[in-house]
């Protein structure tokens, strides 16, 4: 045997021992510190528990940057093996076009229907009775994160709700701090708007506008006070010139800003920075006014790939993502809530416990991604980006918002 045949036979033996082991490319946009820690938990579990390899396809930038890349790859015939998306209406047409793998069988085998809590998460993965995605976490956007250090510097007590926060703002400004940290991107400003809506206009009116697209309610008095509150918040965030959400969170962590309205994924950043809940920072779900959270989140979709080995590996990954151990490890690192109601999250910190309590008591709402199409969301984000960065009046912004809701589908 010469060297060449030796090498060839060696290669044949290696291949022979690892039948069915494939590389799965997984795309996602989890790139901040806490998020990267969480995704490495998934990769670790996948490599340890199966023969397959996790090929990380992180796309830097937020969902707005990553989603077009992901979708154009799927449409363009170069699909990845698995991808993160926010479940809901973003992938409706991809499923209708038959581009996504049907997961119904393993979902039934795994009894997902009974496990997933709240059940609306699985409903938004379902189209015509078939299941197309695995929910991996629950994210809620309605949180106010407060820096204890900043309020100590300003010499005021840490607020217990949004009204106290606004009242404390002048003291923060006097101490040379930015009251409200805000990344200058439409989606972040839209989160602040949505959160203020639920706190100020109440759940009923919010549901009427966002879910039922009732433009009359959007033009009414309750939304008028929402837009006025946003205009006030805009003044509190005037000196916050950062772009990315984690940079804004960092202002809160370092005590340069009093607070930030951001989803519970901000929790991961506090954790990476070694801060302790209720000691270095505190969190107010629903701005401390309305104890409700929306239940958006991330889900994994598996684009159809015409290769039985990859298909089998995709199903293995899908079942793994929802398994109890992975759910605990992943969600503890990410600061999000698990999609299963039956696992032990006692190691979670007090902020996550608050979230779990609200979840258990049923104070849940559908997320914007489930009610509004990407088109409507983009228009609202454009409006919010303009509103927060300019001197647009609250009345004018409300009028434009009413137009968008009236045209929404």
């Amino acid at each position: 045997m010469n060297l060449k045949t030796k090498l060839l036979s060696a290669a044949a033996i290696i291949c022979g021992t690892s039948v069915g082991a494939v590389e799965l490319e997984v795309t996602h946009w989890w790139t901040s510190g806490g998020e990267a820690a969480a995704v490495s938990e998934l990769a670790k579990a996948f490599t340890a528990k199966t023969d397959h390899t996790w090929v990380d396809g992180a796309i830097a930038g937020s969902g707005g940057t990553a989603r077009p890349i992901i979708i154009s790859r799927i449409l363009g015939g170069d699909p990845m093996a698995a991808t993160q998306l926010n479940h809901g209406r973003q992938s409706e047409e991809l499923i209708e076009a038959g581009l996504m793998t049907d997961l119904t069988e393993i979902a039934e085998a795994g009894g997902w229907k009974d496990l997933v809590n709240p059940s609306s998460l699985l409903d938004s993965c379902t189209l015509d009775g078939r299941i197309y995605c695995v929910p991996v976490n629950i994210h809620s956007a309605q949180w106010l994160w407060l820096s204890h250090e900043a309020f100590a510097t300003a010499g005021v007590d840490v607020p217990k709700d949004w009204h106290q926060f606004v009242a404390a703002a002048p003291a923060l400004q006097k101490a040379g701090l930015v009251p409200l940290a805000m990344g200058q991107q439409g989606w972040q400003q839209n989160i602040a708007f949505g959160t203020l809506t639920i706190a100020i206009a109440g759940v009923e009116d919010w549901r009427e506008v966002t879910v039922n697209k009732n433009a009359e309610v959007a033009a009414g008095d309750s939304y008028k006070s929402v837009f006025e509150a946003v205009a006030d918040a805009r003044e509190l965030a005037r000196d916050s010139k950062v772009q990315d959400w984690n940079l804004a969170t960092n202002m809160v962590i370092t005590g340069k800003a009093g607070g930030q309205i951001m989803g519970d994924w901000a929790q991961g950043e506090f954790q990476v920075a070694g801060q302790v809940a209720d000691q270095d920072y505190s969190c107010l779900p629903g701005l401390g006014i309305n104890q409700v959270l929306d239940t958006g989140g991330d889900a994994f979709y598996f684009p159809k790939i015409d290769d039985p080995e990859i298909h089998a590996a995709q199903l293995e990954l899908a079942a793994l993502l929802i398994s109890p151990e992975v759910q605990v490890a992943f969600n503890l690192a990410k600061g999000s809530l698990p999609v299963r109601g039956d696992i032990d999250m006692s190691s979670a910190n007090s902020c996550m416990q608050k979230g779990l309590e609200i979840l258990a008591s049923g104070g849940v709402l559908p997320s914007d991604d489930m009610s509004l199409s990407a088109d409507t969301t983009t228009q609202i984000e454009d409006l919010m980006a303009e509103f927060w960065a300019s001197d647009l009046s609250a009345t004018e912004a409300q009028a434009r918002y009413v137009d968008i809701i009236a045209d929404a589908d």
């Binding site: 409706e92 010139k241 969301t377 980006a385």
Partner: protein
């Protein structure tokens, strides 16, 4: 060629014509076919995937009532006019200065052309940092002692487009200068001698003799600059990403965002059709004047 009848023009140079058929087909299918497809689907209610569901002019009505689109158009107009005029003037002036047989001409030429070697993404990022008030120009001037100096275009919605203009010109002027320099080098030395004999001043020589002689060079530069203006996208994405708010949005970014982020192909196609229409409106009369006039000569 020595046949009795003169062959039909269509069949002359047969092999050359056959050889060019693939190229012609590609051009027809890719350019005209693609354009027609886009225009056709701009009249449909296509969302993520193209669907034949006609909605008339709805997409265009929505487009022209959208604030973001109006701001995009306005920004492109400001950027376009300023960059066209300033790049031409600056490019020509620099070329004329270099053409005065100065020392170290090669060095200066390289320095001025160098930014052109950078992509718009790098240019945008570099200028984002240069114009950042905390460690860019403003910070440097303040450190020199002018404490009240304020220059913060990146965070001022009213002037942010000029911040992008500066970056775009820094990148593009070098190329125009090199084209102009080549044109100047093509001017016969005898012309210069003649103007010197006639005692015509330097500036007057440039404006009244040299510039008219360089007309083809100016047309080339104009085409290059204009195509760069219309497709302005990556510079904005890298430098401001449309911000603050939506005050530095441009049409090409509207098209991309609505096609892929908002998953609304119809709206994106309507916007790109409008971009094409505006190019055609500007291009056709100009092309007519430029090329149609030659027949009369």
């Amino acid at each position: 060629m020595d046949s009795a009848k003169r062959p039909n023009g269509l069949f002359r140079n047969k092999s050359a014509k056959i050889a060019s058929i693939p190229m012609i087909l590609t051009a027809l299918v890719v350019f005209f076919g693609g354009t027609a497809w886009t225009v056709f689907y701009s009249f449909t209610g296509s969302r993520l995937l193209p669907k034949v569901k006609f909605v008339g002019f709805d997409q265009y009505e929505r487009l022209w009532s959208s604030h973001r689109w109006m701001i995009s158009i306005e920004n492109l107009a400001i950027y376009g006019i300023c960059s066209l005029v300033l790049t031409m003037v600056l490019g020509f002036t620099l070329a004329a200065l270099l053409d005065r047989k100065i020392r170290f001409e090669n060095t200066f030429r390289t320095i001025i052309l160098y930014p052109f070697a950078l992509s718009f993404v790098v240019t945008g990022l570099a200028w984002q940092w240069i114009l950042n008030p905390d460690f860019g120009v403003q910070a440097v001037v303040r450190a020199w002692g002018w404490e009240s100096f304020s220059f913060d275009p990146m965070n001022n919605p009213d002037i942010v487009i000029y911040g992008i203009l500066i970056a775009g010109m820094w990148q593009g002027t070098g190329l125009v200068m090199v084209i102009m320099l080549a044109g100047l080098r093509g001017i016969d030395e005898d012309i210069w001698k003649a103007t010197r004999v006639d005692g015509i001043g330097l500036v007057k020589t440039y404006v009244q003799v040299i510039v008219p002689m360089m007309r083809p060079v100016f047309v080339t530069a104009l085409v290059i600059i204009s195509s760069g203006i219309i497709k302005l996208y990556d510079l904005v994405v890298a430098q401001t990403n449309g911000g603050p708010g939506i005050s530095s949005e441009v049409p090409a970014k509207y098209v991309i965002d609505y096609m892929f982020k908002a998953q609304n192909l119809g709206q994106g196609f309507a916007a790109s059709t409008m971009m094409m229409v505006s190019v055609v409106i500007i291009l056709v009369p100009w092309a007519y004047l430029e090329f149609g006039g030659k027949k009369r000569d």
